[in-house]
Amino acid sequence: MSDIGESDAPPPRAGLRRTDGESLLFWTLPAAAIIWVSAFLLFPGFTPPLSPTLSADQVAAFYRDPHNLPRIRYSMILFNWFGVCLVPILVLLVMQIRRMAHRTPIFSYCMLGCVAGGPTLFLIANICWLLAAFRPERNPELTQLYNDFAWITFTSQVPFLIAQCVILAAAIYFDNPTGLVLKRWVAHFNVLVAAALVPAAFTGLALSGPLAWNGTLSFWLKNIAIAVWIVVMGVVLGQAIYRERDQRALPEEQQVAG
């Protein structure tokens, strides 16, 4: 029992390379990233991040503002559509973990367990923002409650993002050092990103200062760390997929010829 399905599956059909579809999935990342950045800039609550010290009436006024309301809705609908585009990318990372020299499929199982967690938690925040915007004339206390749920969920829900980084780092550390699938520095980088995400978990403790949901640590450090992770891991993953495809191309052509 080496890996997921590996021992049970019949050999792949000749001429069909596993890596072909993978590069296709991989190239959805730049498109998704552009949409994410656009939606991020479109949402008026992020530029600048809404302060947690606003009163209920001020929060309600934010949603009632005719300039803000359509931007809140459209940006969050975009996030609702495309936020989950991270899933195929994470699954591609699972495929790389499966190539590593491990004795058991533990790390790929862990990564699979994380894949849906981050996007699902983000969707909960997304739904709360959209709900707050659905009836802005609602009692301001209720709008504030939705707004708090959205921001607390968005900011503090880093558990699976931290786990992804730590699991990937551990998987690399446990790989065979003489033939690493992903380089050592990728592991160190992931540990660093995981550490940068930790303060955001504590955002409930402060309504102002660096820990508050609009603060240096909870908003800027966390979101910049996620953005850097997506860019760096995108490049690393792309290189790994193309390297794997080149490695596989040769023996398979020989197989077909023979």
Binding site: G5, R103, I106, C110, C114, F149
Partner: protein
């Protein structure tokens, strides 16, 4: 399995580098550490276990939030950092089913069910109580709303654990590789049945069937604690017995029992 020299030089380093079971031990250790944190956060820091009463009026609920303000915010922040550790536990249990003579479908079903369970079964409660504790001056009616949301989502999320335990039970009972003793299969049934008896917590606000009642909570918690203790012990034995084969798992050699 490599050189004897490295083994004698530093046993711990050898263990981390060369032990063929290191991935399994890492998962097992993470599982134990997670349950220790879980116990400390829920029973000591946040005082959410044993749960406060669903019969309280909103004045008492607000008082409860005030009394436990820092504990709730710090305790759940810790959970937001470490919840990803559950993926290691789920991966190890899924692995135990892959080692059995049963279809991989069992392991995968369990992995998905339990990966999904973290959000409705725990994180939603942590988010709702964090939001509830965030603004002590919020309308008491709304604070009580977060209180109900928290405890009912935590205690009333049943299906994932019910079906998950039954899947594990079925795999153990039909397994021919003797991965677990058959009586542990029936202990899974006990755990599954507790998920049935908590269901009245959605209906009753006081008495033995309420969310803090002798049946819905105490019975549930006692069975869950025994079940968790037993499977931690049995998973440890599984790793000690593991021979990375596909046939029946060998018995523990009396001398190697450490």
């Amino acid at each position: 399995m490599n050189t004897l020299a490295t083994r004698t030089a530093s046993p711990l380093a050898w263990y981390a580098r060369q032990n063929p079971k290191r991935e399994l031990w890492l998962a097992w250790g993470t599982l134990v550490v997670f349950y220790i944190f879980f116990g400390v956060v829920f029973f000591v820091l946040t005082r959410t276990q044993p749960p406060p009463s669903p019969a309280w009026d909103s004045r008492k609920v607000v008082q409860w939030f005030q009394d436990n303000h820092s504990g709730i915010l710090i305790g759940f922040a810790i959970m937001f950092v470490i919840t990803g550790m559950t993926t290691m536990s789920n991966a190890l249990i899924a692995y135990s089913m892959r080692r059995m003579s049963v279809s991989p479908a069992f392991g995968y079903t369990y992995l998905i069910l339990y990966s999904l369970s973290a959000i409705p079964g725990m994180l939603l409660m942590c988010i709702a109580l964090t939001v509830g504790a965030l603004r002590p001056d919020r309308d008491p009616e709304l604070i009580t709303w977060t209180y109900d949301f928290a405890f009912l989502s935590f205690i009333g999320t049943m299906g994932v654990f019910l079906i998950g335990s039954l899947v594990w039970m079925l795999a153990i009972l039909i397994d021919k590789n003797r991965v677990f003793p058959k009586w542990f299969g029936y202990l899974n049934l006990c755990n599954a049945l507790t998920e049935i008896v908590v269901s009245p917590a959605w209906i009753f606000r006081r008495g033995v069937l309420a969310w803090n009642g002798q049946i819905a909570w105490w019975l549930n918690m006692v069975v869950f604690a025994i079940y968790t203790g037993v499977f931690i012990f049995l998973l440890r034995q599984l790793i000690q017995r593991e021979d990375f084969g596909t046939g029946p798992l060998p018995n523990l050699a009396p001398k190697a029992a450490r």
